[in-house]
């Protein structure tokens, strides 16, 4: 119950103001199609440089939480999911809005998001300290495999092609080796003077997430925003609260599935909403009403999306392994303040850790309150033409990456990686494993070298890295995730072929 002692930190004037800015800003950014939570958090990092670590994390955490929930606004009112996580919300949410029940859909969405989110953060609060103590038992070989696991799982589960997903992870790990070697001081892959200091994580993150989005908006050409914002009639909030609890089955399914999926590194919130929606439909006696503007659909999808947020940070805060791209960006935010997650965070910076976690808890409630008021305005912002949005994101990306070290080199790296990533994405490569490779690469290398040194002095490298219960378990998970994804890819290909034959 250590966390209770740090609640007052959240209510300090500056911290609370940042929490409000992050929450309201996140709701608006989340509602804007094309601005994913990961990109929003990456673009916000430069604004945290001059803040205390805890304050910076409050801003980033609030933005993460509320962008996920804000995506429901455009899903419901415009039928455009603000982020992929909100796809399931459009199914019933938008239908409710077309039936004149937009306010009810928004209220149900924010209330169930808040309930799911609070549950997810409570899970984070109770699991993290225990797991971070357990993480002390991890030696270099375990941490090496854990880093490989982080890249492999996200590379295999988060892409349409297992090989291209893994290859993206390899590209990220290679990019992380550019610069001077830490131990010998040797130059590695420095093919341009601007790269002598290596690739700074923050400009790389901004480039990899923001620039492909800018180019995607360019690719649409001179396209007018054709989605119309649906009018929202008044609806009593009390009725929405009663309806949410009346649909406790869907709420429980959504919250449980979201929290569980959040804990699995790499799976993330994109599928949490869809899986929860599907399961809620299967277990509901009113399953035929799903898709026709049924409240259970919105409740299950949105509670799952936000229940995923807290648990997705458990691997990051305990083992330094970001479980999702957004968690990877948050890790970047921690590292620039000289804070390394894991037991060090809870032993040496408990104020930072608990203030951040507590702010996410309070943020869920603020998100619910403000979400209902900001929704109408956010939906209008979501209609801002893509040309304006692309130019704004480009400007923020250039200024943000420059402000990291006042270096033009960072801006060049940001743009080069971003443009390269856009073209790679067009051919089936994915940004998430590349980013995780870039972030986990140094962790994997440091532990690999350290482990190799220990192994050379003791048992030899092969037994050191390939024996012991923990090593074998981690290797098994790495192999299992690859095998499972390959099997799923083959199965999907067979289904596609059958589908094509049936249509022929």
């Amino acid at each position: 119950m250590e966390f209770i002692g740090y609640f007052d930190e959240v209510f300090q004037p500056i911290s609370f103001m940042l929490l409000l800015i992050g929450t309201i800003g996140g709701l608006i950014l989340g509602a804007t199609p094309g601005l994913s939570p990961t990109m929003a958090v990456a673009l916000l990092i430069p604004f945290t440089f001059q803040l205390e670590p805890a304050q910076g994390l409050i801003l980033l955490g609030a933005a993460y939480t509320s962008t996920v929930a804000g995506g429901a606004v455009s899903a419901i009112l415009l039928k455009i999911p603000g982020a992929p996580a909100n796809i399931a919300t459009t199914l019933d949410g938008h239908t409710m809005a077309t039936q004149g029940r937009g306010a009810e859909a928004l209220q149900l969405s924010f209330i169930s998001s808040a309930i799911g989110g609070v549950f997810g953060v409570m899970l984070l609060i109770f699991l993290t300290p225990a797991l971070s103590k357990w993480a002390l038992a991890f030696g270099p070989s375990h941490l090496f495999w854990l880093a490989i696991l982080g890249v492999t799982v996200i590379g295999t589960l988060d892409s349409n092609s297992v090989v291209k997903g893994l290859l993206s992870g390899c590209i990220g790990m290679w990019l992380a080796t550019i610069g001077f070697d830490d131990i010998m001081g040797a130059q590695r892959f420095i093919f341009h003077p601007e790269l002598s200091g290596g690739i700074n994580i923050i400009p790389a993150l901004i480039g990899l997430f923001a620039i492909p989005q800018v180019l995607t908006m360019f690719a649409q050409g001179r396209k007018a925003a054709d989605a119309e914002v649906l009018k929202v009639q008044r609806h009593p909030i009390g009725a929405a609260i009663r309806e949410t609890f009346r649909r406790s089955r869907s709420l429980t399914i959504g919250t449980g599935i979201g929290a569980f999926i959040g804990l699995i590194p790499g799976v993330g919130g994109q599928i949490a909403g869809l899986v929860a929606y599907d399961q809620a439909k299967k277990f509901s006696p009113d399953r035929k009403k799903f898709g026709t503007g049924h409240s259970e659909g919105v409740i299950a999808a949105e509670s799952a999306n936000n229940a995923m947020v807290g648990p997705s940070l458990v691997p990051l805060l305990t083992l330094s392994v970001p479980g999702s791209p957004t968690a990877a960006v948050l890790l970047g935010g921690l590292l620039i303040h000289g804070i390394f997650p894991g037991s060090d965070l809870f032993d040496n910076h408990p104020d930072v850790a608990w203030t951040f976690i507590n702010s996410m808890l309070i943020g869920q409630i603020l998100m619910c309150i403000f979400g209902l008021y900001v929704a109408g305005f956010a939906a209008r912002v979501a209609q801002v033409p893509q040309s304006v949005m692309a130019a704004i994101v480009l400007g923020l990306a250039v200024f943000g990456s420059y402000s990291v070290q006042n270096s033009m080199g960072d801006v060049y790296v940001m743009a080069a990686l971003g443009v390269g990533m856009y073209f790679l994405e067009r051919f089936g490569f994915v940004a998430a494993p590349l980013v995780l490779g870039l972030i986990l690469g140094p962790i994997a290398e440091a532990n690999f070298i350290q482990g190799a040194m220990i192994a050379d002095a003791t048992t030899g490298r092969l037994p050191y890295f390939f024996s012991g219960m923990l090593n074998l378990t981690l290797i098994f998970i790495v192999v299992a995730s690859v095998v499972y994804s390959v099997w799923m890819e083959i199965r999907q290909r067979k289904l596609d072929r059958k589908d094509k034959e049936a249509h022929a």
Binding site: P46, F49, Q50, S159, N160, S161, V163, K164, L166, L167, C170, I171, M173, W174, T177, D181, I183, M184, A186, R188, F189, I211, V214, L215, F218, A219, G221, R222, K223, P385, Q386, S387, V388, A390, A391, I392, L394, G395, V398, F399, Y402, S403, N406, V411, Y412, M414, A415, V419, F423, L424, E425, R426, F427, G428, F429, G441, A444, F448, A452, R493
Partner: protein
């Protein structure tokens, strides 16, 4: 999506992998390249596999690039590259941003080019954007950007 659209990028990635692998195994001191060797070996194996799949026509992932995408993207991409690699440093961040913002709006804004109102709107949005960026980065965050060409 044609087979060449898979062959060319996967071939480029495979070439990059081979170069990384060659550098990792030939550069000294060997200890400094221990981890790059491990990574580059896996990199090359996966890249060659991807390339072989592309050659055999088994690649499925990705939407490729159509002529329409190239036509739409090219003006914006050229502006982006000039902005980042020349204008931001040569003209100053705020001047370059204002020019680039206005050009991008002029190229991609769906509002008609024949209406004066659309142009006034574009100018107002551009000025608003630059003022907000200046307030945020120069005044609040104290970021020192390269010298401006048009003002101090």
């Amino acid at each position: 999506m044609s087979r060449w659209q898979h062959i060319i990028p996967s071939g480029l990635v495979a070439l990059t992998g081979i170069w990384i692998c060659w550098v990792s195994y030939t550069q000294q001191p060997a200890q400094a390249f221990l981890f790059p060797r491990l990574i580059s070996t896996v990199f090359v194996a996966l890249a060659l596999w991807t390339f072989a799949k592309a050659l055999l026509g088994w690649s499925r992932a990705g939407d490729g690039i159509s002529r329409r995408i190239i036509v739409n993207i090219l003006p914006g991409l050229i502006v982006l590259l000039i902005y980042v690699f020349w204008a931001a440093k040569a003209l100053g961040f705020y001047t370059a941003s204002a020019i680039v913002f206005f050009i991008l709006l002029s190229i991609y804004d769906p509002n008609p080019h024949s209406e004066v109102r659309s142009w006034i709107k574009r100018v107002i949005i551009t000025v608003g954007f630059v003022v907000i960026m200046y307030g945020l980065f120069a005044q609040v965050l104290n970021v020192f950007t390269p010298k401006e060409a048009l003002f101090q």
